[in-house]
């Protein structure tokens, strides 16, 4: 017997967030579906520990030029936020505008970029592309600081069209060159100073300084350009305005949003939802928030077809399991090891393999990654000392008849409280058999870590190891 309100809200929170504990779900259910969509799409105070306190009390996350500390810091923000959509949209853009540490050697600049995604990621796509083009991490990542009026470097120009907006096949090699010319002079402000610092400091070659954007008119090619059939003395903003109004851009953005927020595969009904998102893109002035609002209200999104239709990405897998277990509510030592686990699953925060980002969907699943995924979630959710699992045990006891659960109830209630997760009949029968190993479970007078609690932990371990748990 499925409670549809709970199941639908859990679905929304797996998409617009990282899944939710039952306590969190109940808060959203109280708002109603429409209210919950608006609350998620309009983030307010995320409620994390302020950065100055992190810097003072958690040194392992205050060295923000360092990759491990910075990835852990972002993960902490995802784990602790009360505005999950803000982090989810940042993760989406991080995958699409994939910028990596390997070349930058300056994680602070990546965290600044992520902050920009939090700030602007739900707004106008045109504004977002302008901000992206001025983002110091992106400028260095795709060499726009080497793109000069006298000699273009087409790396940024090419990827802006191929990977960040229209997609291959919608422009020519000449458009790439013209686009690159328009972005000449878009560079870093303190490049010369950084070069001096780099020469003096081999550990931190860019010195202990923040990068910032600078437009250099004298290095800009102000000549006439022809881009996608339009001619003028275009600067970067003009090129982005032309990109933003293309049908191919609308389709590209809608499709990528759909695949991240709805389903890996696009079915016929899914295609209709994409069409609605494209219409919202144009009618709202390219607003991402409007496209997602449209998506979350489609019949398709609310239907069974869209549920569990995505393979969880490693970050979703890890953050989701930790939000459920309730660990790391404050920055804590050891959290960097968790970031490493995401890397072994195939998705290291701040270190996408290439500018193309990650191959998602079924490509997350290979035997090495699956082992890492199962092991992580199973370990995290079987730990009966964690606050989230303790809360699950309390709910199990409260819902049990005189504190005693039959084996099939134990399996069903664990599936419910970790999701609700829907499983196949075959999976269900294995779970019930497993629960039956020691007969019915008496949770009266349970003590932290005692045998009764361990049995719950063992049950949760197996639920976390199901195929169904791998899906969002």
């Amino acid at each position: 017997m499925r409670n549809n309100d709970t199941a639908l809200m859990a679905h929304l929170l797996r998409r617009a967030g990282f899944g939710a504990s039952r306590n969190e779900l109940e808060e959203y259910i109280a708002m109603g579906y429409d209210g919950a969509v608006e609350a998620l799409l309009n983030p307010s105070d995320p409620g994390n520990m302020p950065d100055d306190l992190i810097r003072r009390y958690h040194v392992e996350q205050s060295e923000l030029r360092d990759l491990a500390g910075s990835a852990a810091y972002w993960m902490y923000r995802m784990i602790s936020t009360s505005c999950p959509m803000e982090e989810k949209i940042a993760l989406f853009w991080h995958g699409l505008f994939a910028t990596g540490y390997a070349k930058l050697n300056q994680a602070r600049s990546l965290l600044n970029q992520v902050d920009m995604f939090r700030r602007s990621g739900l707004g106008s796509f045109e504004d977002l592309l302008v901000e992206l083009s001025k983002d110091p991490a992106m400028i260095v990542w795709l060499d726009n600081n080497e793109n000069h009026g006298s000699a273009i470097n087409e790396n940024y120009g090419r990827e802006l069209l191929e990977l960040f907006s229209m997609g291959i096949g919608n422009y020519t090699e000449d458009d790439i060159k013209e686009c690159s010319r328009a972005f000449t002079g878009w560079t870093l402000g303190n490049a010369e100073y950084m070069a001096v610092r780099a020469a003096k400091d081999s550990i931190w070659p860019y010195g202990r300084i923040a990068w910032h954007f600078d437009y250099r008119d004298e290095d800009h090619d102000a000549g006439e350009k022809t881009f996608l059939g339009e001619t003028g003395k275009f600067n970067g903003e003009d090129i982005i305005a032309i990109i933003a109004k293309q049908e191919s851009t609308a389709r590209f953005v809608a499709t990528r949003l759909f695949q991240f927020f709805a389903a890996d595969e696009i079915t016929e009904d899914g295609e209709k939802a994409i069409q609605e998102m494209i219409a919202s893109y144009f009618s709202s002035g390219y607003q991402i928030r409007a496209m997602l609002r449209t998506l979350f209200h489609t019949d398709y999104f609310k239907s069974d077809e869209a549920r569990f239709a995505r393979v969880k990405g490693p970050v979703e897998m890890v953050v989701g399991a930790i939000r459920m277990s309730g660990n790391y509510q404050n920055p804590a030592l050891g959290i960097e090891k968790v970031s490493d686990t995401m890397l072994y699953m195939g998705q290291g925060l701040l270190q996408p393999p290439t500018v193309e980002g990650w191959h998602e969907g079924s490509e997350w699943i290979d035997s090495g990654a699956l082992v890492e995924r199962v092991n992580f979630a199973a370990r995290e959710l079987s730990d009966v000392t964690s606050p989230g699992v303790r809360s699950i045990i309390d709910r199990l006891q409260a819902g049990a008849d005189h504190g005693v659960l039959e084996p099939s109830d134990l399996a069903d209630r664990c599936l419910d409280l970790l999701g609700p997760i829907e499983v196949s009949d075959e999976t269900h029968s294995v779970l019930v058999q497993y629960a039956n190993r020691h007969g019915s479970l008496d949770l009266n007078d349970h003590k932290p870590g005692d045998e009764a609690e361990q049995r719950v932990g063992n049950m949760l371990r197996l639920v976390a190891a199901t195929r169904e748990y791998q899906l969002a």
Binding site: D264, D366, L370, L431, L462
Partner: protein, 377 residues
């Protein structure tokens, strides 16, 4: 030829991001090289000469030693017609051996399927590192992907051995039903089964290996060490794959490229020493490739995406030498400012498939390609 009857294995080292051919095998006697590469060049006095025309990058000392022993084949001007300068598309082309259409099956995954059509050994193909390269991906073909060989396996944190076995058994049943109803569920089912089977076998590999060779602490060297451990454990691994990078040197190329090649050449040198120590030099061949070379003219501090590149085949069974002609740098011969590829990469694939893995090549590489005679017959 050898008394050892083991099956031949292929070890692939992928250089991701587009390795700069011109600064790897340097045409140091050609003035056009220094004209085009006014900033991003290897000076004549730093090149490790191969002959009076070409020389290795100064970071490639260990490769030069192997060259002197006749164990290195340099495949010049490798690529395909109508070069694609997108990393992803070009890497896909190399991975799927499909230059003209979007291929779905990796060439090595097809090879693995032909070696082991019933999927009896889940360790026929193994990737070392994160994420499975598309070369090894194909529906229905299971390839192990190992991030860390030491801890590979399921539920390693469950101390109670009886509980662990009970949990593994439940896992096996939960992943056992592959009913063909849902492709993702089926994929996970097969992958889970294979992981279960492979894990217990793989975890034994490090214990079965001993060697005096010390690999460097960098990620490539450590992955290559894992390759050696698994190869020498005789688990039937025929394709062992890893990658290194990023070679996408648009800026600051000289320092980055030198460091990367230091790591690649070092890892290859260690692996060849290791094979020699174990008497298995004739049983493994190494293929080193990248998705494309880089533009002839530098951009001031690096080089942009180009076309024709270089591949290497290294091993005891390789006829050392230069294969094919180094593409001309003269403007008339260039293709949009790039080196014109004159060796189709599928020729090398064909030779590996037919003469090393003993498979039918045309069905895997989608056509007939003339072999270069790199492998000793």
């Amino acid at each position: 030829m050898t008394s050892n009857k083991r099956d031949k294995s292929l070890i692939v080292i992928q250089l991701s991001g587009g390795n700069d051919y011109l600064n790897t095998v340097v045409p140091y006697a050609d003035g056009k090289y220094y004209d085009s590469r006014s900033k991003v060049n290897i000076p004549q006095n730093r090149v490790i000469p191969i002959d009076d025309q070409f020389g290795f990058n100064p970071s490639m000392g260990p490769v030069k030693s192997l060259w002197d022993e006749g164990k290195v084949a340099i495949v010049n001007g490798i690529g395909y017609e109508n070069p694609n300068r997108s990393h992803f598309r070009s890497m896909d082309i190399w991975h799927t051996a499909e230059p003209n259409a979007i291929g779905k099956e990796g060439w090595l995954a097809r090879a693995i399927r032909d070696i082991d059509p019933l999927g009896e050994n889940v360790l026929t193909g193994i990737n070392f590192g994160r994420g499975l390269p598309r070369a090894l991906a194909c529906p229905g073909v299971s390839v192990a992907s190992v991030g860390d060989l030491e801890t590979y396996g399921l539920f390693p944190d469950v101390q109670d051995e009886e509980l662990r076995m009970f949990t593994l058994e439940a896992f096996s049943r939960m992943y056992g039903n592959v009913a063909g109803r849902d492709p993702i569920m089926d994929l996970m089912g097969r992958t889970g089964q294979d992981a279960l089977q492979g894990a217990d076998i793989l975890r034994t590999a490090p214990g079965m290996y001993s060697s005096s060779v010390e690999y460097a602490p960098n990620s490539l060297a450590q992955n290559v060490k894992s390759i050696s451990q698994v190869f020498h454990a005789n688990l039937g691994a025929r394709v062992l794959y890893t990658q290194h990078g990023p070679f996408d040197t648009h800026s600051g190329e000289l320092a980055t490229h030198a460091k990367l090649w230091d790591e690649v050449a070092g890892a290859i040198g260690c692996l060849m020493d290791d094979l020699k120590e174990h008497g298995t030099e004739e049983d493994a061949t190494i293929l080193v490739f990248s998705e494309f070379g880089r533009r002839i003219k530098d951009n001031g501090s690096g080089s942009d995406h180009g076309s024709g590149g270089v591949a290497f085949m290294i091993g005891g069974a390789v006829n050392g030498g230069m294969y094919g002609e180094y593409p001309s740098l003269s403007e008339a011969e260039q293709i949009e400012g790039d080196l014109r590829a004159n060796n189709d990469f599928r020729s090398v694939y064909t030779e590996i498939l037919e003469d090393w893995l003993e498979l039918d090549a045309p069905s895997i590489v989608n056509g007939q390609f003339e072999k270069l005679g790199i492998l000793q017959s």
